[in-house]
Assembly symmetry: C2
Homo-oligomer: 372 residues x 2
């Protein structure tokens, strides 16, 4: 399969940096999505954290960022080491298959036996060493011609994630915990989620996967032949002067489909998907309640503060995120969420954090897209 | 006592416009106190509402406003009909005796048999016609040489107000409901407040009183002779070129004392105070919970909005006061209080509205006086 002896030498990282994160409005906007924000208090944005996390695996020259044209400037200004060569700009949002398959196809033309790993720009991982060890194990498994997903040991019966049902153990040298994927299951109801967690057979699907680019694209060729052909045509011209013309012509015609449907599920049905469990803390930071929990690790009842606000809090818990320098005073508020930005203010509670999305929908419907 | 036949012909209104209203921070500030704000949604400030309410009684030329020098511009810009002749500027806050007694003394020099009525600039009265009838009745009683307070029929056993214990009925023509005041009692605890309300003998002390200026000053002469002399000396020079010098010299030496202690209580002990019950709705708008209640009359569970904010509220009740044009989104908040100003934001609940004062104290203590 490969002439190189070490699978890690074939490895490139892809960071799909997309998705507005409606549940994080008014912090996350079309013009400043989730991944461009510091949601952990690390002093870096989620994108910068993701980049730093991947650098030890692939080196800074082997990380490809895929993002919307609208974010080119913001991304370039945040990433000192990112070159135009390693940046793929999507003319418009076409869902995850287009983004990841194009990146994989471009890398495969540059390096035919490339193993790609795809890691969202807006997730949080706490124990980096464990994450790196897991990815290295997954790369070994991928080198045996598998699409390898990283499954997270559930800490609770979450209904917010899809699950991976583990199958038989695989015998891969240097990857002792790798197992076959029996199937992917979509976000369950709470009863199902409890059964999944109790059984011990299920892991959270964190959307991270590692695969030979060729296997990924071959799978796509079977499930979505037109999309596959279009992707390959753009990749063929990408590093040539004809690139921009090809992209501008072809991109608008692409089918929007999530890579879960176009690649992961058909490959799992064909027995081509493995899973490596990740023993690290992972958060998709889906809403403000998640940020509050991330911030309050072991400090329940406290108020977490992100941003430079002057804060005076009296008997209040929850999270305050500020992008202004106003003085903010909170009195007697439990599990509160306050998000203070120059043109919009959100006040809600952790219990209602998921409802922010409907509010954004309402804003869109009532013509307030200037603040979205 | 008087050569004029009609007591109302002797009547002048005094509006003491002072007090920062710490419980209404960050709306009410040292630079923009409570009376300069529209807290009712009437489209006018409390001071303008007070002025308009008094005009039918005394005419616009017989209303004297007493306020701090710092508020001269704001007050003049709000009051089209206010002339310098009818404005008394306090060089510094010296409590209510200094403010009201100086105003009374100035008016008495201009018109020796004047009956003054003192009405705070920052209260809300709902039924104006009933208020006017009550004051007219009180003026008739005052003309019999009484200090007349207006007592409000309690709607609940409030611990936030002082109470007036009613004594025997008085026999004054045109003032059938006037009674002697047996005594004033300070803000009670809840058990006492309940007994007061059940007895039917007690009324809320709304701080409104009507009295011949001479009687008021004579009472002060007995209780606080030095303060009385100082007030008379300033009043003597007030309408002369020597006025400013006298005020600048004397004002800083004045004793700070509430008029309740210097005049009302000693006069009551001497049997000189009468009460006329006011059958109108009165609010002192002491905190944001009071504003919320004022706004939500009969619409419990609703969110009241004051200001020009674009608001998107989902399952929220309470009050939102905005001095910015930001979009404000509230989700799932019960009895919430949100006050949004350009440099400070307050979020609390109706239950905790009284605690805003301690927060302001904390801000002062921590050197944040720029936002106070």
């Amino acid at each position: 399969m490969t002439l190189k002896t070490e699978p890690m030498d074939r490895f490139h990282s892809i960071i799909p940096a997309g998705g507005i994160g409606s549940r994080l409005w008014p912090l996350s906007r079309a013009a400043a999505p989730k991944f461009l924000h510091d949601l952990t208090g690390s002093g870096q944005t989620l994108l910068q954290d993701t980049w730093d996390r991947l650098t030890p695996l692939s080196g800074k020259d082997r990380i490809l960022v895929v993002t919307g044209v609208a974010h080119e400037q913001a991304v370039m200004s945040q990433m000192d080491n990112l070159t135009a060569h390693n940046l793929v700009l999507e003319p418009s949002p076409k869902d995850s298959t287009a983004a990841i398959a194009l990146a994989a196809a471009i890398l495969m033309r540059r390096e035919p036996d490339v193993i790609i790993g795809s890691f969202a720009a807006d997730h949080v991982i706490v124990e980096t060493a464990a994450f790196l060890a897991t990815v290295r194990e997954a790369v070994r498994v991928a080198a045996t011609d598998k699409i390898v997903v990283i499954g997270i040991e559930p800490s609770e019966p979450s209904v917010g994630f899809g699950y991976i049902k583990q199958g038989d153990p695989l015998q891969v040298e240097g990857a002792p915990s790798a197992r076959q994927v029996a199937k992917f299951v979509e976000k369950p109801n709470i009863a199902k989620a409890r059964r999944y967690v109790e059984s011990g057979d299920y892991l959270w699907n964190a959307g991270m996967f590692i695969a030979p680019a060729k296997l990924l694209l071959d799978t796509l060729a079977k499930s979505e032949p037109e999309l596959h052909a279009a992707i390959l045509e753009m990749a063929e011209h990408w590093d040539t002067p004809a690139g921009p013309e090809a992209v501008n012509r072809i991109w608008p015609t692409l089918k929007k489909v999530a890579i879960d449907y176009s690649v992961a599920e058909p490959a799992a049905a064909a027995g081509l998907v493995a899973v490596v469990p990740g023993h690290f803390t992972w958060h998709d930071v889906g809403d403000f309640a998640a940020i509050a929990e991330l911030q309050s690790q072991g400090r329940s009842g406290n108020l977490a503060v992100l941003g430079n606000a002057k804060v005076l809090a009296d008997s209040s818990s929850g999270i305050l995120i500020s992008e202004t320098d106003r003085l903010i005073a909170l009195i007697g508020l439990e599990d509160i969420i306050v998000v203070d930005t120059p043109d919009a203010l959100l006040v809600t509670t952790k219990e209602h954090a998921q409802r922010v999305k409907s509010l954004v929908d309402a804003l869109r419907a009532t013509g307030h897209s200037d603040v979205l």
